[in-house]
Amino acid sequence: MEYLILFLPLFASILSGFFGKIIGDKISQVTTSLFVSLSAVLSFVILYKVINQGYENNLVIATWINSGSLNVNWSIKIDALSSVMLVVVNLVSALVHVYSIGYMSDDPHKPRFMSYLSLFTFAMLTLVTSDNFIQLFFGWEGVGLCSYFLIGFWFKKDSANSAAIKAFVVNRVGDFGFALGIFLIFYIFGTVNYNEVFEQIPTIIDKKIIFLGFSTKAIDLICILLFIGAMGKSAQLLLHTWLPDAMEGPTPVSALIHAATMVTAGVFLVVRCSPIYEYSQLALTIITVVGMSTAFFAATIAIVQTDIKKIIAYSTCSQLGYMFFAAGVGAYNVAMFHLFTHAFFKALLFLGSGSIIHAFKNEQNINLMGGVWKKLPYTYILMIIGTLALTGFPFLSGFYSKDAIIEFAYLKDNRAGFFAAYIGIFTALLTSIYSWRLIFKTFHGDYNNQKNKIESLHESPAVMLLPLAVLAIGSIFAGIIFKELFIGHDTFYVFWGDSIKFLQPLSTDHPPKWFIVLTPLLVTISIPLSFYLFVKNKKIVNAIVEANKPLYVFLQHKWYFDELYDFLFVKPSKKTGYFLWKKIDILIIDRFGPDGISKLIKNLSIRAVKFQSGYIYHYALIMLLGFSALLTLLIFK
């Protein structure tokens, strides 16, 4: 069964990728969707077995790299953690496959698109089912590659290609840290297999190493390096710049890769390595700080963006920040819970926005929409459900996971946790405001689009709405159903078993009453508030913008990160490259090297040639001079 789960998507991808022309668009769309759906069903069976029977398995498919003490296998590891990821990945992937049949109906390259989606699913599955760091790395780069393909899917658009390269290269920066982390693990432990590494942890806690002149604890360094990889993949502050640009890709791609699955790989990595992270307080603190900064920072940008997908992209960035600081305060299971619920509502929001974009004929600017909720009733309702779940409105799935994160941060009882809790609450308010801004600007107010007449808009076909409905059900109920299993007091230890390590048991206290109700209260209040601000009385918003123009521009330019990186890295690299080539290679090495030598020899020989003038008296003179010199020398000696 595990083999089927893993290889069905690969098979689907090969079938549709290489034989797409032969079997036709329809068949390749249906088969890929079918295969991935089958894989999704089987994943549920596995999850069921894990929940009820505590099923675990570690299959070895083949050896991969076997060099000295380095032994790496292709493997499938099933435990609680990977089974949850299997469900998330395969379920969302299957729904996105189906949705794409409708969304990409006008595209000439359907089989290629489906093939990439399935290939991505396969890569993501190898990532989550790995039993060692190198296969994890394989999946890690594999999903990065598919992301590259899919962002640049519309290859005629220059911006899409640039965004694809940016995504790949920025991720490579993260991978650079990740790879160094793996090297260090191999250096310290002599192996890269999870179990063998985790077993040895207690023996090396105090081991110190010198790295780049600093003496640090090896374990801290490992954790930080791995986290750099996670930051790249999960678009955390400093390495986040690729995610908003990645929205150049088709919307189903954004839903699958840049919301539900690939970007959560970083969180998965940290949770998977919880047996290491638990011993490094330093790394956990860094994770908390980075996580909460990202959560806050991305939310501030989302508030002023006008591109519907970019708003949701920054929202994703922000929610990933939540997951990280949950992991940072040691509540790995809560991080996984938020990952799980987030997959539903964020995929729902993305696919819903896709439905809107589809209706508006590829218009993405929310200022050019408005007042269409009657025309797109289903999309409207589904988007509302997604928004409620995202903002953490009581009793929808986001409520359980997000509030749990804030509570655990508060209960962590250290400074980082304390700050994280309050920033978490404030960010929840921001989240609510920007999400409702999106809804109100798109669906309410006046119709602002000149290009398309309002009569021409119509609801998306059933093949697109059906996956949305499934995700909506998940967004509503996933929280309440899986709450006990994932984060319920005492019960969660049973479910997660050995897959997550808790050095100290999580706090079972309750924060004060007022603290618990604060977030839901803010979130609820913000709905009428946003309605007032963005629909009823727009003057206030305009006044605020006018009064804080510099801040507004600063936010609109996304804190100037792109410009800064361009100035710091991109331009200098190009300039240096040009300098090294033109000045060093050509002007110095070649000039004094081969060209210089040949010129020198030429000059010398030209001079030597002059000696042989052919005139007897020249030769005679030289002979005479030489002879007298010799004589002089002999006489004076």
Partner: protein, 498 residues
């Protein structure tokens, strides 16, 4: 002694070359000569596969050794293979038929002579990888330059004479020093037999100078910074088949030389010069990656990327760890396949459009989808994406380097980021976007024969990416033996000093 299989490998291409030389083909196009050359080189490939099959991987000694007296008491013609050489022989015999198939359109005149040059070169290359006598090695090593020199000088582009001259000047400089070193070794020890030299060792006090002399020759061929500037010029001017041979095999002679001779004969000097090698390798990796980023000519870009990749190789060899050396060997094989493939890919475009300038191309995926796919695979191989052979090599090298020196491994890993940047940028500019040029519309996608050639390169790149066991297995014993010998020598020397 049994059937002299190694000598047959070495001589078969020469026999083919002689045959082509003395026969007069019926048509002007020399099709029959090409078939003869192809047949001979394929036969040689099969022979080397058979050799790989019967080769005993668990045996540390050199196998299939042939030892004939040549100049009595002075030089013996001695050849034999171990796990490391067999892979390079396979690479050679695999690449040569591919060159011969792809030769048709790039070389229009004197095809017959061109084929002879390629076949002679195959003889020399195989000779390099299995000679067990320094003089024999030297002869093969240097003689291999002559066909290459001619290929660039006769069949090259506009500035071919300059490039050929530069190529010759650089390589000559190193060679002379190596010859002197070989003569000195004979004076010091009384033999040039590599196996004997491994046993008796060379007096540590001479090792540093001798190492430097060998190094100067290998560094030029690798090529290492700062003696790399001949490579871009040579590649740009050489015809496609020449570039392929140059990148895929000729550059590997130096890497092989480092492993076989620098480490094997002068362990103490090698240990002493490790910082130098690391320093130059890092410069090669970072510097040439940056330069590659700015290239406007596709061939030059790939040439510079070769320098960067070979920087990884030299770094890995001198980590003196099992992962590092095995990684270097895999990286060399992988680079042999990937760079050959990339040069062939550029050749395909050049043949159709007669330009290699990147800005002349755009949007090729629209008209050449098959080409876009194969080029993607090769690009990924060059980037070292997991699942391609490039990854296994690079990752093992960096792992080995990390054991030795954190800083070096960290800087070298930066090269991996730059590698992704320049290759993907190249791919984007050439393959994606809109068709900017009317001429581009006339391009035709890959022909059947080209698909055959490219798929025969795609297959091993992916296969060894997912399953490098065959490669690692065949070198493992030899590498462990090499490292043991190396450490033994280093420790002995330390004891002596005390």
């Amino acid at each position: 002694m049994n059937f002299p299989i190694i000598s047959s490998l070495i001589l078969l291409p020469t026999i083919g070359a002689l045959f082509i030389f003395f026969t007069r083909p019926s048509s002007k196009k020399y099709q029959s000569s090409k078939y003869v050359a192809l047949f001979i080189s394929l036969a040689n490939f099969l022979l080397s596969l058979y050799l790989w099959y019967i080769f005993d991987k668990s045996n540390v000694d050199f196998q299939f050794v042939e030892n004939r007296e040549w100049l009595s008491g002075f030089i013996n013609y001695k050849v034999g293979i171990d796990g490391i050489s067999i892979l390079f022989i396979l690479l050679t015999t695999f690449i040569v038929p591919i060159c011969i198939i792809s030769v048709n359109a790039t070389v229009t005149n004197k095809l017959k002579n061109f084929l002879i040059a390629i076949l002679l070169m195959e003889t020399m290359m195989i000779g390099v990888f299995c000679s067990l006598d320094l003089v024999v090695f030297y002869l093969f090593f240097e003689a291999g330059l002559i066909p290459m020199f001619l290929i660039i000088g006769i069949w090259g582009g506009e500035r071919r004479v300059y490039s050929a001259f530069k190529f010759f000047l650089y390589t000559l400089l190193g060679s002379v020093l190596m010859l002197i070193a070989i003569i000195s070794i004979y004076w010091i020890t009384g033999t040039t037999d590599v196996v004997k030299l491994y046993e008796i060792g060379i007096d540590p006090k001479y090792q540093k100078l001798l190492w430097l002399a060998f190094f100067s020759s290998f560094a030029v061929k690798t090529p290492m910074w700062p003696v790399h500037t001949w490579l871009p010029d040579a590649h740009v001017e050489a015809p496609t088949a020449g570039s392929v041979l140059l990148a895929a095999i000729l550059l590997k002679m130096a890497g092989y030389g480092f492993i076989r001779f620098s480490l094997g004969l002068f362990p103490i000097a090698s240990e002493y010069f490790i910082p130098l090698i690391y320093f130059l390798s890092l410069i090669a990796i970072i510097y040439t990656s940056l330069v590659a980023l700015m290239q406007e000519d596709m061939k030059k870009l790939i040439a510079y990327s070769s320098v960067a990749h070979m920087g990884f190789v030299t770094l890995g060899i001198f980590t003196m760890t099992q992962q590092g050396i095995e990684g270097s060997i895999i990286q060399m094989i992988s680079h042999g396949l990937v760079s050959a493939a990339l040069f062939l890919s550029v050749g395909v475009l050049y043949e159709r459009m007669h330009t290699r300038m990147i800005n002349k191309y755009s949007g090729l995926v629209l008209i050449m989808p098959k080409y876009a796919i194969v080029l993607m695979v090769f690009t990924l191989g060059s980037i070292g994406l997991p699942g391609t052979s490039g990854f296994v090599g690079e990752f093992l090298i960096l792992m080995g380097a990390f054991k030795k020196n954190f800083l070096v491994a960290t800087i070298a890993s930066l090269g991996v980021i730059l590698g992704a940047a320049y290759m993907l940028w190249l791919y984007k500019r050439v393959i994606f976007g809109n068709l900017i040029n009317e001429d581009l519309k006339k391009l035709i996608d890959l022909k059947k024969i080209e698909i055959l050639v490219f798929s025969s390169l795609v297959f091993p790149i992916l296969f060894f990416g997912f399953y490098p066991e065959p490669l690692i297995n065949s070198v493992e014993t030899s590498v462990i033996n090499l490292i043991d010998m190396y450490n033994f020598n280093i420790n002995n020397n330390l004891v002596l000093k005390k």
